[in-house]
Point group: C2
Chain length 121, copies 2
């Protein structure tokens, strides 16, 4: 949870559209309840907004030492529609590099979380 | 293809196990025919070795400039069983940080490839 919350702010979201897996990068923030990211309308959002199962992966690596860590979250994605939550999210602290904060927000619940660390060799 | 082949050697593989999406980091190499990675026996390999649909995502980012790029490949994963190919792969050039080269190798075909670049703001 600590690595998820403080170790990075770029992660991958994996899900299936019509049975085909898809993995897309997002800027995210994580709190105790899950992962939140911002997205523009389109395939990604329309697939994610309906309570589908998704995976979220976050990692960091140090190539010189062949070391790093990764965190995998499996959960359910739902669009955030509560106006108070949206207001809070649109004021920050997450600034997506690709999407204006006025766009749609999606929360992924943490149903299962696991991780792996590769120590320096 | 150039970014896939030269821009990184750590990527994510997304696929579903029993209907649940999963995203895992791998060290990979890419050639004109696809993406190749090395894996230890277990859930990941047993799910991937049967010709299932997978997604592979590779990215790089420059946080200071909120810029970066990502490449998404959608394809089919199959275990490599040809002895000559395995011999070639085990001699390098891919050195997985986590898995010994004697382990199983999987190739992902490139059925569809797309990408995105965020310029410096």
């Amino acid at each position: 949870m600590q690595l998820l919350q403080r170790g990075s702010y770029v992660g991958c979201i994996g899900f299936s559209v019509a049975g085909r897996p898809l993995v897309l990068p997002v800027n995210y923030i994580a709190d105790a309840d899950g992962i939140v990211f911002c997205t523009a309308p389109g395939t990604k959002l329309s697939a994610l907004a309906n309570g589908i199962q998704v995976a979220s992966e976050v990692d960091a690596s140090i190539p010189l030492y062949h070391s790093g860590w990764s965190v995998l979250v499996q959960g359910t994605a739902r669009e955030i529609v509560d106006p108070a939550q949206l207001e809070y999210l649109r004021r920050g602290p997450l600034k997506s590099w690709a999407v204006r904060p006025s766009e749609h927000w999606v929360r992924i619940s943490i149903d299962e979380i696991s991780g792996r660390r590769l120590r320096e060799v």
